[in-house]
Amino acid sequence: MSDTAETPQTAPVSPWQQLKSDTWLSIIAVAAVAFSHLVTGIYGPGLWIGLAVIYVIVIFGYALARFIPVKSLPDLFWISLVAMVVTWPGVPGSSMVRDAIDGLSFLPTITPLMAFAALGLGTKEVDLFKRAGVHFAVISLLVFCGTFLGSAIIANMVLAWMGS
């Protein structure tokens, strides 16, 4: 998604350095999520508590990802894992964590992501997109609809078959 592939390889960074950059980037990302809620009209204390809890979960997940270097597992896996464990019923404090996270809503949480993604497109991507042409745009649309419909049809059949 970025032009980073073109930048020359620098010396390997230590997990601590990586984590430091993760914490900074996450602050900016969370600030954008906060802003997005504010313009939607959500600004109570619940929002700030929710953001703080989510930030802590994200950083904890990043820390696991940096210090348990299993190459095939993306950062996303570790952050999902932490989020799942701390909200699991029966885990001490899980209901409080869940309530805190409920201070955020879906829509304003996803909007900043799209803004970053749109700004993050470089000249290389724009050129590639133009060159890919209408053919590949149509194919891509079919690909995305195909996976959604394929999964929905199978899931629907199995649900109906189980009679639930």
Partner: protein, 271 residues
């Protein structure tokens, strides 16, 4: 060359967010299908209009390397969404277990990508082996790496997967924000089935899809989030195995059949 200061990125992103939230949710009807356009679609369009790589006069204000700095923020911006989605899995566990067989089976629905798209690529657009790379998956980072590893970087398969990857970057998430509510409005599917279908292995697509469905069926929001996040995790865990042992062999066979059909059709038309 000084780098773009991070506050300029943040201000620009906030402007795009404002545009998105200000336009809000737009709904209209075409026949029996509902089209729902979420703020995230408008924020993306606004972001494109503010992107110096798209609108070059903006380069003066943004400075060089703005795109690169913004791109580094995409992954951290996905994470809060992932936390919000997965936070529902534990409390909705009973519903997830109840839907377990469906949840497992629908992983094979990802084969729908090539079922639907490869005939269009081979028969419609007369593509060669690009069609395999282009249609075997939704071509996110993992798929890209897999094709480059298996077929090599300078192959038609790699061209195909790269093209769909790029297209996905431009309108993949938007597609997953628009198509699910449209399908839901047809009233043919169990909402749970649609929620499971949201789990694609791409966090932003899954998030957009779950968000769009929740906007339509707000009372089932927690369940939708849990099923989508569960299905997404499952795709992450099983995806590679399904790709290696099922998808790629099937794609190769399907491609052979389709090119043979195309060959026969052109023979027939030559006579």
């Amino acid at each position: 060359m000084t780098k773009t200061p991070v506050w300029i990125i943040l201000v620009t992103v906030c402007a795009a967010i404002c545009a998105g939230q200000w336009i809000g949710i737009q709904r209209f009807q075409i026949g029996i299908a509902n089209i729902v356009l979420l703020p995230l679609v408008f924020a993306f369009l606004a972001g494109l209009l503010l992107n110096p790589a798209v609108v070059s006069p903006l380069k003066k204000w943004m400075g060089p390397g703005a795109g690169q700095r913004a791109a580094r923020l995409v992954a951290p911006a996905v994470m809060p969404l992932i936390v919000v989605l997965t936070a529902n899995i534990g409390s909705e566990l009973d519903a997830l277990i109840e839907a377990g067989p469906a949840l497992l089976a629908q992983e094979f629905g990802n084969l729908g990508t090539m079922l639907l798209a490869m005939p269009a690529a081979v028969l419609g657009f007369k593509m060669g082996r690009e069609a395999i790379g282009a249609t075997f998956s939704i071509a996110r980072e993992g798929g890209l790496a897999f094709i480059f590893d298996k077929y090599g970087a300078n192959t038609p398969e790699a061209t195909g997967v790269t093209a769909v990857y790029i297209c996905g970057t431009f309108f993949g998430t938007a597609t997953f924000a628009i198509v699910p509510p449209l399908v839901a409005s047809l009233d043919l599917f169990d909402t749970r089935a649609l929620a499971m279908a949201c789990g694609t292995g791409s966090a932003s697509m899954t998030g957009a899809c779950a968000t769009a469905l929740t906007a339509e069926v707000p009372e089932q929001g927690d369940l939708i989030a849990a099923l989508a996040a569960g299905s997404n995790l499952m795709t992450g865990l099983t995806g590679l195995f399904i790709t290696i042992f099922i998808t790629i062999p099937l794609a190769e066979a399907y491609f052979k059949v389709l090119t043979r059909v195309r060959g026969k059709a052109s023979e027939a038309s030559d006579v």
